[in-house]
Symmetry: C2
Subunit: 237 residues, 2 copies
């Protein structure tokens, strides 16, 4: 079991700081030679460290050491940039597209509206210290936010909701599962197709209990750690 030995060595180098967060590893060929093995076996070790969130790769660019994950609390309405700042991290949000569309079969179900209801549809990529870590898709009920695109919607939707429409999030329904990245999303995150990912789906309600929008967040799985507190519910048998 050579690849386990390789993993141990790499983990040790990470933990002793010989390899630092965000640092690029040597090329696969060089490492394979250094460990006296083939690329196939080396990649077995690297892939396994990727699954453990110790290494990540950028498509065709190489392997890097994972920085600490961002703590994410679904109860906080904070925008991404603020959330990162409070943890001493530097964050940026970038627009991929913003358009107006009509609800399809899938989105009408997500937002509990009839098909062809007017919606805003936007996609953004968020960066942590220059590294793209989440691809966020939003579907927003247009009826509550006339002319949304006249305001800033890239950095923080929640702020715009509040300032221009007096709407604030009150409750959120969220679902967390694991998937992997493909196509446009993988590309936007500079991830290799098939990289492990965490999917956070949220449906958000305002102070009047109205369903106002939903998010699909595709996180590079090493970049996030969900952390929250919940009051427990008594369930009758």
């Amino acid at each position: 079991m050579q690849y386990l030995k390789i993993k141990e060595i790499l983990v040790e180098q990470i933990e002793t700081g010989l390899l630092q967060a965000r640092q690029k590893l040597p090329s696969e060929r060089k490492m394979a030679e250094a460990f006296s093995t083939t690329r196939v076996t080396l990649r077995e070790a690297l892939g396994s460290l990727e699954a453990e969130a110790r290494l990540y790769r950028e498509d065709r660019r190489g392997w890097f050491v994972c920085p600490k994950p961002l703590r994410y609390d679904p109860r906080l309405t904070l925008n991404f940039v603020e959330m990162a700042k409070q943890q001493g991290r530097e964050a940026v949000s970038e627009l991929i597209f913003a358009k107006q569309t009509l609800a399809t079969k899938k989105t009408s179900k997500l937002l509990q509206v009839t098909m062809l209801t007017e919606l805003y549809h936007l996609a953004r990529v968020r960066y942590l210290e220059q590294r793209p870590v989440v691809y966020v898709v939003n579907y927003i009920k247009a009826e509550y936010f006339k002319n949304l695109f006249d305001h800033d919607y890239v950095q923080s939707l929640t702020t715009t909701y509040q300032q221009h429409y007096s709407v604030s999030y009150q409750r959120t329904h969220y679902r967390v599962s694991t998937t992997s990245l493909f196509g446009d999303i993988a590309q936007a995150l500079r991830a290799t197709s098939g990289s492990p990912a965490m999917l956070v789906e949220r449906t958000n309600y305002d102070q009047q209990g109205r369903l106002i929008d939903c998010d699909l967040e595709y996180w590079r799985h090493d970049a996030i750690c969900i952390e929250s507190v919940a009051e427990l519910i008594e369930v009758p048998n």
Copy 2:
């Protein structure tokens, strides 16, 4: 990109029901031949479907089609068996070990006690329809539960807490991250070493706000989907 084609075909067979949940796939050699490729490439496709939670494997036993994940709401105090039953699933809990120990550096931090505090330490494996899906480790403050082992602690700790000690969970602090399975845990879950996993860590408080125990839950990542509702918190800037 042969392995993508292979994936597509397998996904289609799963979605059309040609391959059913829990069904075993043919051997790797047979599939490699059927797709006119080598085992290495075939395994690339299978590994990728494993990351997407469409296939899972049992160590040295082969590849299987993933059944639907169990929905898991951290707010519910329900024991595992009840939770599964409410979703029409059949569940069983099995004891791995139960012992009394003293807090170590790691566990004293988890439970916010001084080192050498008396603790119960138990490990269980939980099955969904015969399949082991979670490995649960518990650390419990012994001071609140004298002679815990005289009662049933395998099927449901929460029930025993309530009935014999008048203690019920009120609040939980939880953290969700991705890792992978190794050693004893992988073995108990019949998983190949290095399989992707979801780690749920919980710290639980009773009706008096006392920290009473904590859980480390190692889930086969395809077997769980975390789903909950949260009231949002206003955060001053």
